[in-house]
């Protein structure tokens, strides 16, 4: 391993930006705030490129020990950073996409009163995310892990005067705590059994252990607990419920945190722990099953959503499911590949959706959009590219990575593959539905309503004081265009398994697997092409179906929905999962806290003890205070009586 002192600068730079904007932003001009935020974030990107320069698949990992932290006997944890092929991919994605979204935010949030606060939080997020990605041990990773959770909470609840935003922030934070609890227990197990949290030390302790094929042991437990943490952070079943609500945050936040970077931290963590998962087949199976189910489940919910950001949120959950499916079948590099392309096209989708929302004055309901391709051609073009990419149309980025995952999943079991293909069909359908509802047909927004009598809705849809939809400024379109280019070409890095070979040193434990995989691959190339054809055709079918339903016969979907009745209502209401959780977990906790903890313990025991001792003291004093009458002779009487008592006592006991 080679020491590289630049490593620690990468996370520290955005922290400096966050501190400057956080402390001095209130009195600075917006130009100065933007400059600080962009310069520090851009500097981190620049440093990342500098570090990445000349780092190839053959390079030994870089590391840098910043300072000591915990030294207790043989157990030690330092603030140290680490960069191998896996963290390099994450580093470039986070800094690159993050920088683009920072630029976009300047345009999107310019008119907001808390501009400096927003930019400060964004930089703070970058700091924690880079800490997470560059950590050399699990504890530093955990700092980043918790820190991005904090930034996520701050940014979801950014418009905290809105009740729903504040509640969504709390929900995200609390659901993440459940996952973090699992992650922490996994760390405790590692400390107990391996005596270290350092990646290299833990993995070298794990490496001699055989796979736990018979029964579940320590590695299975650690793997499952890590997966609990990953499920919380990456919004997998059963902890995905916070992500759709997180759309209450500003759209750049949704793009940066809840699509491109933070929610993929779980995938990164599982991939990073590949050495552990490799030796715990049962945990791997659980990861694969959770990923597969989440992919399908979230995609079906996405069909019936009408809020443009909610569709994208469920789409994100679904795509994250793909990544976990890949990790679960041992194709970690395929999962990371999809993570990267997903960061491009899903970041782009969210930014484009933000551009739409910005352009029509804050409206998010797709039923009030339509026909926007005329008003905002650039947004339409870039979002179209992203849609093609996510739907898996070749040769765009999403096709390569998704097909890689499906192919690897087929190698594990055809069930994963089948569900993956069905999900791909649904994905294609709801994404093109979104496109047709937003950009196709006629505009159904403020202008259309004005014709019908505008009093009720007219002003709500045009809060910026413009009835006509308009294209966004170039500061917002620039990032869209760059991400669109990346969404087109991003997939080619995976051509001929280059990406997999690049990442191979990071998955040394999985090297054996890869060798097997490639040996199996060669004779099955016709099968691979067949499967590729299937996934392309289902993507095309999804597009066709969306075209028929939402462009050709726009009145048809409502009739289908009506004929499906209960099923449609269940899907539109997200399968009532939130309501179920409310009954099962939230209400018991709230009721228990109210009756037992609040009324019982707090008011009944703690408050009562304090209040009763106070009133007891008052009552005693009330009776005693009459002694202090101010009458000198009664005082004298008390003195004399006291003296008499003392003398009587001495006489009684006998003076010695």
């Amino acid at each position: 391993m080679t020491p590289n002192p630049y490593l620690w600068l990468i996370p520290i730079l955005p922290l400096a930006g966050a501190a400057i904007n956080g402390f001095f932003g209130r009195r600075s001009s917006k130009q100065a705030i933007s400059a600080v935020a962009l310069v520090f974030c851009g500097a981190a990107f620049f440093m990342a490129l500098l570090v990445a320069w000349g780092f190839s698949s053959a390079s030994a990992p870089y590391y840098y020990d910043l300072t000591h932290w915990i030294r207790s006997g043989s157990f030690q944890v330092d603030f140290s950073f680490y960069l191998d092929q896996l963290s390099l991919v994450m580093l470039l994605v986070v800094t690159g996409v993050g920088f683009l979204i920072h630029i976009y935010s300047v345009g999107y949030m310019w008119d907001d009163d808390g501009y400096y606060r927003f930019m400060s939080y964004m930089n703070l997020f970058m700091f924690f995310m880079l800490t997470l990605v560059l950590a050399k041990n699990y504890l530093v990773m955990f700092i980043g892990w918790e820190g991005v959770g904090l930034s996520s909470y701050l940014l979801i609840g950014y418009w905290f005067t809105k009740d729903s935003a504040a509640a969504a922030g709390k929900k995200a934070f609390i659901v993440n705590r459940i996952g973090d609890c699992g992650f922490l227990i996994a760390l405790f197990l590692m400390i107990k059994h391996f005596g270290s949290l350092d990646f290299t030390r833990v993995f070298s302790a794990v490496r001699p252990l055989g796979p736990e094929t018979t029964g579940a042991g320590l590695l299975t437990a650690i793997g499952l607990l890590l997966m609990v943490g990953a499920a919380g952070k990456s919004a997998q079943i059963p902890l995905y419920v916070w992500l759709p609500d997180a759309m209450e945050g500003p759209t750049p936040v949704s793009a940066l945190i809840h699509a491109a970077t933070m929610v993929t931290a779980g995938v990164y963590m599982v991939a990073r722990s590949s050495a552990i998962f490799e030796r715990a087949p049962m945990a791997m199976t659980v990861v694969a099953i959770i990923g597969t189910l989440t992919a399908l489940f979230a995609a079906t919910i996405g069909i019936a959503q009408t809020d443009i950001k909610k569709v994208l949120a469920y789409s994100t959950i679904s795509q994250l499911g793909y990544m976990f499916m890949a990790c679960g079948v041992g194709a970690f590099s395929a999962g990371i590949f999809h993570l990267m392309t997903h960061a491009f096209f899903k970041g782009l989708l969210f930014l484009a959706a933000g551009s739409v929302i910005h352009g029509i004055g804050g409206e998010q309901d797709m039923r009030k959009m339509g026909g926007l391709r005329v008003y905002m051609p650039w947004t339409f073009a870039t979002m179209g590219i992203a849609t093609l990419a996510i739907a898996g149309i070749p040769p765009l980025a999403g096709f390569w990575s998704k097909d890689e995952i499906l192919w690897k999943a087929f190698g594990a079991s055809w069930v994963y593959w089948l569900i993956g293909v069905v999900t791909a069909f649904i994905t294609s359908f709801y994404m093109f539905r979104l496109m047709y509802m937003t950009f196709g047909g006629e505009y159904r927004g403020a202008a259309a309503q004005e014709a019908h009598g505008h009093a009720a809705h007219g002003h709500a849809a045009s809060t910026h004081g413009h009835g006509e939809p308009h294209e966004s400024p170039w500061v917002m379109l620039g990032p869209l265009v760059i991400l669109a280019v990346l969404s087109v070409v991003g997939g080619f890095v995976g051509y001929g398994n280059q990406f997999e070979h690049f990442l191979a040193p990071a998955f040394q434990g999985a090297a054996r697997e890869v060798a097997q995989e490639t040996s199996r691959e060669a004779p099955d190339s016709t099968l691979e092409h067949l499967l590729m054809g299937v996934s392309i055709s289902v993507a095309g079918l999804g597009w066709l179906l969306a075209y028929l339903l939402y462009s050709r016969r726009p009145q048809l979907p409502a009739r289908i929905a009506a004929s499906l009745g209960g099923l449609y209502r269940a899907v539109a209401n997200k399968y009532y999962i939130d309501e179920l959780y409310a009954v099962l977990f939230v209400n018991p906790v709230v009721d228990g806290s109210t009756t037992i903890l609040w009324h019982g313990v707090d008011q009944g025991a703690i408050d009562a003890t304090v209040n009763n001792s106070a009133s007891a003291a008052r009552h005693v004093s009330d009776s005693v205070r009459h002694m202090q009458s101010g009458n000198l002779r009664s005082y004298a009487g008390w003195v004399a009586a006291g003296g008499a008592v003392v003398i009587a006592y001495m006489v009684w006991m006998g003076v010695r």
């Binding site: 202090q628 009458s629 002779r633």
Partner: protein, 100 residues
């Protein structure tokens, strides 16, 4: 020679007279004099014991008590004069502001 018990009896009588006067009388000056009476009752027992045991420390102690009593008389009379000037009375039952 007069036995020790006589002195002690007289000393006790003087002290009890002082206590009773202190408790019963309302005039501050009378109360003040009662305190002096108590002090002198105690002084008497001190010198009686000193004579009986042929120890000088009792006598020395009496001098101390007399010095303190003189100081106390000076301060006390000053307070009494101050009280009379402000309250125009020497009845302790009317000087009853010494409370919360």
């Amino acid at each position: 020679m007069v036995p020790l018990s006589y002195y002690l009896l007289l000393s006790g009588i003087l002290f009890v007279c002082g206590v009773l006067g202190f408790l019963i009388k309302r005039n501050i000056i009378t109360i003040f004099m009662s305190i002096e009476l108590m002090l002198n009752g105690v002084n008497l027992s001190f010198v009686a014991f000193a004579a009986h045991w042929h120890a000088l420390s009792g006598q020395v102690f009496v001098f101390f008590v007399m010095v303190v009593a003189a100081a106390e008389a000076a301060v006390g009379l000053a307070i009494i004069i101050a009280v009379y000037r402000t309250r125009e009375t020497l009845n302790v039952d009317q000087v009853n502001l010494l409370k919360l």
